[in-house]
């Protein structure tokens, strides 16, 4: 399997995605914004459509749209224009509706689109891997450096504000990281499924971890494991990788829940 260039590329990109998605998703889950990844993903879908329409690589337009969508959700939420889930709903539906209209306008309702929606192991090029590596590792470095501040905000937002942590900036940053993660992961897992990889490993880890840091560490292990196992199944079963990765994540979650139930 690893003799094949495209599989090596897919595994390398997948490893980065498997680590990054739960590392960022951790903070979304803590903020009860587990579904924000979906909202951003749907906007990224509109971005893909724009890419087809104007003839630019959809990866970049999707990334741009994801960032705009994340900023929009955060803006609506922070200004209390709408409750978190309502802000999300507005962005979510606008994204998918806009995407469908634009896609059909571009005449791109085809198999290629399917690869963006559900991931494909055939599509990762060397150039993609370079982009994924630079952006993905950059995002991970940001999380690593700001980890303590981010945890403090998640743990007690008002306390963090009183103590002078830049709460709005850190919250905005989490949204931007989520957008970046989605943009970066789209090729492997697909826009409609990437959000699951940000959430499932984290909620699985929470069942078996014993501290904040162990939750983070185990989430990353689960995420990485799901991607590598999912890609393998996808290769041998000739299945879309996004689906197999996410189903592996679900299996991990079920096992973790079982372990928790037995351990009690």
């Amino acid at each position: 399997m690893l003799d094949l260039e495209f599989m090596r590329l897919a595994f390398a990109a997948g490893a980065i995605v498997g680590v990054l998605a739960p590392a960022v998703g951790f903070f979304l889950v803590q903020r009860e914004m587990s579904l924000i990844g979906d909202g951003i993903g749907h906007v990224a879908f509109a971005g893909v459509a724009v890419g087809y329409l104007i003839g630019v690589s959809p990866v970049w337009t999707a990334l741009g749209a994801a960032i705009v969508g994340a900023a929009g959700i955060e803006w609506l939420r922070a200004r209390r224009k709408a409750a978190g889930d309502q802000a999300l709903a507005v962005v979510f539906y606008t994204g998918i509706a806009g995407g469908v209209v634009l896609i059909s306008a571009a005449g791109a309702l085809n198999a290629n689109l399917f690869a963006y929606l559900f991931g494909s192991i055939l599509t990762v090029t060397r150039g993609d891997l370079a982009v994924i590596a630079v952006l993905g590792l950059g995002a991970l470095a940001v999380v690593a450096v700001l980890l303590r501040g981010l945890i403090a905000v998640a743990l007690d937002e008002e306390g963090a504000r009183v103590a002078g942590l830049p709460v709005a900036m850190l919250n905005g940053l989490v949204s931007m990281l989520a957008a970046l993660t989605i943009g970066v992961s789209m090729r492997i897992v697909g826009i409609l499924l990437i959000a699951a990889l940000m959430v499932l490993p984290v909620i699985a880890a929470q069942r078996v971890a014993w501290s904040v840091r162990s939750t983070m560490g185990i989430s990353i292990l689960f995420g990485l494991g799901s991607v590598l196992a999912g890609l393998t199944v996808s290769y041998y079963g000739n299945l879309p990788p996004g689906g197999t990765i996410v189903l592996t994540g679900t299996a991990v979650f079920l096992v973790a829940s079982l372990v928790e139930a037995v351990a009690r």
């Binding site: 951790f26 889950v29 803590q30 903020r31 009860e32 450096v145 700001l146 303590r148 501040g149 945890i151 403090a152 998640a154 743990l155 007690d156 937002e157 008002e158 306390g159 963090a160 504000r161 009183v162 103590a163 002078g164 942590l165 984290v202 909620i203 880890a205 929470q206 971890a209 014993w210 501290s211 904040v212 840091r213 162990s214 939750t215 983070m216």
Partner: protein, 238 residues
């Protein structure tokens, strides 16, 4: 040396709601130990939130160390325990995780240094939770959790400590320990303390100044001068 806290002619209401505080003047010098009491809904928590710059007064001004409370910069010098604090995490957190988060404002980026770990250990020690540091917060009793939050407020070595009903659910022994702890912080380190409670049991004897809030400040002075009229039956135990 500016005052630690200054409220001058402060009126406040939440949005279009009724006035919650009216004409509040309160000056607190660095190193004072002030207890704030009053009935439920009297405005104690609101007063603290104004003092911390979390709310904006409708009239009047609020200064922290001479700066407007809303834009006060040296915020790591404030330790705050909100009423009914809970943690906003779904992930399991240990007692130590909670206290370390209290140190984050001092060192938000990069790794914890040795002095940070020492500050965390010291705060745990002070509230008597050193042995339970690795336990999950959710596995502790309510009073023990409350002590973990107090340790969190202490971890950044504040010069102003603001505690909103810290003894809710804390047993008499732990209340005595907290009273003694606050007394030490106040005496040895000159920490300014604002302490809201309904019940001053073991803290009462250390308090120099009592402020009663019922929309207005209805009493401000040494507890011994409190007119009998104001004695609420719930405070009247020895």
């Amino acid at each position: 040396m500016p005052l630690a806290l200054e409220l001058r002619g402060v009126d406040f209401s939440y949005g279009q709601g009724p006035q919650v505080l009216t004409g509040v003047d309160l000056l607190v010098e660095q190193g004072e130990f002030v207890a704030i009491a009053g009935p439920n809904g009297g405005g104690k928590t609101t007063l603290l939130r104004l003092a911390l710059g979390l709310e904006r007064p409708s009239h009047g001004e609020v200064l922290l160390y001479g700066e407007s409370a809303r834009s006060f910069r040296d915020r790591t010098s404030i330790g705050y325990l909100a009423q009914r604090t809970t943690i906003g995490l779904h992930a399991p957190a240990t007692v130590r995780d909670v206290v370390e988060a209290g140190r984050a404002p001092v060192r938000p980026y990069g790794r914890l240094r040795r002095d940070d770990r020492e500050a965390v250990d010291q705060a745990l020690e002070r509230v008597g939770l050193r042995e339970l540091a690795r336990r999950r917060l959710s596995s502790l009793s309510g009073g023990q959790q409350q002590r973990a939050f107090i340790a969190k407020a202490l971890a950044a070595h504040p010069r102003l400590l603001v505690l909103d009903e810290p003894t809710t659910g804390v047993d008499v022994e732990a209340q005595d320990a907290l009273g003694a702890l606050l007394h030490r912080l106040h005496e040895d380190l000159g920490v300014t303390i604002l302490y809201v409670s309904h019940e001053f049991g073991s803290v009462e004897r250390y308090v120099e100044r009592l402020v009663l809030v019922r929309e207005r400040i209805v009493f401000d002075g040494p507890p011994s001068e409190l007119p009998g009229l104001w004695h609420d039956p719930s405070h009247s135990h020895a």
